[in-house]
């Protein structure tokens, strides 16, 4: 039981972190041009 008290918050925290990162990247416009992102990787600047 006691290990659950630590593990569950960690699991949820990591999940929430992922969710927050996704929402941030979405708001940041990183999903606005998926086709472009796929092509840009081919260019070396």
């Amino acid at each position: 039981m006691s290990h659950l008290v630590i593990l569950i918050p960690i699991a949820l925290g990591l999940g929430a972190l992922g969710l927050a990162a996704f929402i941030w990247s979405l708001r940041n416009g990183q999903y606005d041009d998926l086709d472009g992102a796929a092509q840009r990787i081919l260019e070396d600047d």
């Binding site: 659950l4 699991a11 949820l12 969710l19 996704f22 472009g36 092509q39 260019e43």
Partner: protein, 785 residues
């Protein structure tokens, strides 16, 4: 395209530059800090090299802060400082790089659609996060955790589920509320009810009860439904932006001359009757106007379907949307923009599409049947259990909620959008853009195809149909002259003679509205309008030959006889095959055209279509289409012009070629690219397959309900059964819909996909890309694709 009258060049060019700059400023928006952002539409950009070329090319212009290309929307945003004194002519800079570009005016296009997609995606992410975590906790509950752990897990699940479903369920709650306040029922009503009720009971259960909770059911229900909702949205958004890429927006303004003869760029809305405007060759007339001075030819084919160019001289009234072909015109504005021909067409169109909104989409039809059943069954089991258990409202409520959750149309809500999204993607790859699912549903049921002629069945470009008189020599000279012009009739005459052995002409001059004049072996030769050519021809040949319905272009050598090239519009190469194919599918065919009877009947005879109506005005076309619908026919209208727009809106479903008018494309349910018509039978085939798949999906979903509902009503349903039924039926429905990718695969469609992604910057444009880029053996990225 540009006008070739090169006299008074510096003045004209300075004027044009100033006007272009004013237009640019009008379309830009202020980012603050002296920075302006201008968005440009670059339809032909399609690969990594394009992005790089455009971004570096524009970045080098003085005053440009940065340029960012978006490949998905084919747009480029340029941020620049107007006070830096740079030459901010982005459109010509881009055309120097080999890309055709136009200004993208935010005022004309609602950007709201983008936001809904983003909101749906956030909801989807939240629901997915919550569903995954709760499911993990639930699995250990189902696996038989001890009572204390079970209670803890239920509480944690509740802590995740309540905020998650309140947030992620918003699209459904809103739509359900909107339906209820209109006293209707849609699919979202039972969804919202099930989610909220299950949530409420589960919260009570987790805090005070000792039964199982439904947290994972309500959240994963939302997750699955949001997937369907998002896919549906993506399909429409993709078609919308693809269609936008094609549009060369109607001129948003015009060059107005003030009293002192100074031209300035004026937005369309500010043009008043009596104003004088300038329209250069190659531009469209922005409002209804009368020619004040100048001589030119105008192309009315998009406006009224007339295939032959008409001469424009002072006094002639021209409609908004007419293309000015050969010479600059000064026009007097007759009506303000909102009363122009285009505006009339739009209001006709709106009226027609209102009549068309009677179509109820299959999902809503099912919901109208299904939602009451869900509520009645659920209410009945509540009452039944109340009676049977003698008033144990707690157990009864639990059973009622189980029924709601189990019957909740999870697979049902995916059944339609998944099938339609897969079909739309399948068609997209073939160069057909589907605006919404309703168009696919209607297309599957269509039994009558009505064609417009000019630009739809035909290419809208004249070709020589017959040559009257003349020697080989004369044909050769006419052919040489024809090659020197941009006028469509003259270009057609260029085909009069295959080769031009040793024909030399000099002093070529193009006279707007008349034709071409040149000197051949010391004699004057003319190619153009009959009356003008006849001036130099032998007098006895002046009598016109039998009046032919098609248009003509004439040629004569001074003192010689008149040679007449009879022109007619040519059929699209695959028109005959497509007509045969459509007949084989059981379609009735008809032609409605604004063109004269002669050319229309010729086309009808060639294709073997009995019913052909000519010289129709936009309202006549709508009447005919509505007449057909009144007879109980389901009409597919295929047309491209402005004059077709109301009929496109009035028909059950409509298709427009990508080459047509903006308004035509906007009012059509499906838009096809490519030179051929073969997209039509393929689209019909896919649409019919889609409607079959949708029905199969409904069958699958209902089959699950037939098994699960009795269990739920009898009180045997557990959250585990609900979760299993929900996921497996959803997966089955998705898998079944993916089969649509295989429909009509064997059928090759004319190079449609290619025309969406063709490379404009052919080899000749490359050297201008920038000195550093000149490595000759640079591998082309397209080759890798």
């Amino acid at each position: 395209m540009t006008c070739c009258s090169s006299s008074s060049v510096p003045n004209q060019q300075a004027l044009k530059q100033r006007l272009d700059h004013e237009r640019l400023l009008a379309a830009s928006h202020d980012m603050g800090d002296g920075l302006l952002q201008t968005d440009l539409l670059v339809p032909a950009m399609h690969c990594a090299t394009c992005i790089r070329t455009i971004e570096t090319g524009l970045g080098q212009i003085k005053g440009v802060d940065n340029a960012r290309a978006n490949l998905s929307t084919r747009r480029v945003s340029v941020r620049w400082r107007p006070d830096a004194g740079g030459d901010a002519d982005f459109i010509s800079a881009l055309s120097g790089l080999g890309f055709e570009a136009s200004l993208y005016d935010h005022a004309n296009i609602a950007t709201e659609a983008d936001d809904t997609g983003r909101k749906l995606l956030v909801c989807l992410a939240v629901a997915g996060f919550a569903a995954a975590n709760i499911m993990l906790l639930s699995v250990s509950v189902w696996a038989g955790a001890d009572a204390e752990t079970q209670r803890l897990f239920q509480l944690i699940s509740g802590l995740i589920a309540v905020p998650a479903s309140v947030f992620a369920g918003q699209p459904f709650y809103r739509s359900a509320w909107a339906a209820l306040s209109n006293r209707r029922l849609n699919m979202d009503v039972p969804i919202s009810l099930a989610v909220l009720l299950a949530l409420g009971v589960s919260v009570y259960e987790a805090l005070y009860g000792h039964h199982e909770t439904w947290f994972e059911a309500s959240v994963s229900l939302l997750f699955f439904l949001l997937i369907g909702r998002y896919l549906d949205h993506m399909m429409r958004e993709r078609a919308r932006s693809a269609i936008l890429q094609l549009s060369r927006l109607m001129p948003a303004g015009a060059s107005r001359l003030d009293a002192a003869g100074q031209a300035s760029y004026t937005p369309l809305a500010e043009l008043q009757p009596g104003d004088t405007i300038l329209v250069a060759a190659g531009e469209r007339v922005p409002v209804d106007a009368r020619v004040a001075s100048g001589l030119s030819d105008i192309d009315r084919s998009l406006v009224n379907g007339e295939s032959a160019a008409v001469q424009a001289a002072p006094g002639l009234d021209v409609e908004a949307g007419v293309l000015n072909l050969t010479g600059p015109l000064t026009l007097e504005v007759l009506r303000p923009a909102e009363q122009s021909f285009v505006a009339n067409v739009i209001s006709l169109m709106e009226a027609a599409s209102q009549a068309n909104s009677r179509h109820v989409r299959i999902a809503d039809r099912t919901a109208a049947l299904y939602a009451p059943v869900v509520h009645i069954v659920s209410a009945a089991s509540f009452i039944g259990w109340m009676v049977w258990t003698g008033g144990d409202w707690y157990t009864s409520l639990n059973v009622a909620i189980a029924v709601l959750i189990i019957t909740c149309p999870c697979a049902l809500a995916l059944a339609v959008p998944i099938a339609q999204v897969v079909a739309a993607n399948r068609l997209f790859r073939s160069g057909v853009m589907v605006k919404d699912g309703a168009a696919l549903e209607q297309l599957a049921e269509a039994d009558t195809v009505v064609f417009d002629k000019t630009g739809t069945l035909t290419l809208g470009e004249p070709r020589i149909a017959a040559v009257l008189g003349g020697t080989d020599q004369e044909h050769a000279i006419a052919s040489v002259l024809g090659r020197l012009s941009t006028h469509p009739a003259a270009r057609a005459a260029a085909a009069a003679h295959p080769g031009t052995p040793g024909v030399l002409v000099s002093d070529v001059e193009e006279l707007a509205g008349l034709g071409l004049e040149a000197v051949w072996k010391g004699r004057k030769v003319r190619l153009g309008r009959r009356s003008w050519v006849a001036e130099i021809a032998r007098s006895d040949s002046k009598a016109a030959p039998e009046s032919s319905a098609s248009s003509e272009v004439c040629f004569a050598i001074a003192g010689g006889g008149i040679v007449s090239f009879q022109l007619s519009d040519t059929l699209r190469a695959d028109a005959a095959t497509v007509v045969r194919d459509l007949r084989a599918k059981g379609m009735t065919l008809e032609i409605l055209s604004g063109d004269a009877a002669g050319p229309v009947d010729a086309v009808a005879a060639q294709l073997g279509i009995e019913k052909a109506f000519s010289s129709l005005k936009p309202a006549d076309k709508t009447d005919r289409v509505e007449g057909l619908r009144a007879q109980g026919r389901r009409v597919l209208y295929v047309g491209d012009g402005l004059n077709d727009a109301p009929a496109l809106a009035a028909a059950n479903v409509s298709m427009a070629p990508a080459s047509g008018s903006d308004i035509g494309r906007a009012s059509a349910g499906l838009v096809f690219t490519g030179k051929g018509l073969s997209a039509i039978p393929v689209a019909i085939e896919v649409a019919r397959a889609t409607s079959r798949t949708v029905r199969q999906n409904f069958g699958l979903a209902l089959g699950y309900n037939a098994i699960a509902v009795p269990l739920a009503v009898l009180g045997y349903a557990t959250p585990l059964i609900a979760a299993l039924a929900m996921s497996s039926s959803s997966i089955l429905v998705v898998a079944n819909s993916l089969r649509l990718n295989l429909v009509a695969r064997h059928k090759a469609i004319s190079p449609a996909g290619a025309s969406l992604a063709e490379h404009p910057a052919s080899e000749d444009a490359e050297p201008s890309v920038g000195k550093s880029d000149k490595a000759p053996s640079k591998p082309r990225l397209e080759a890798v694709k």
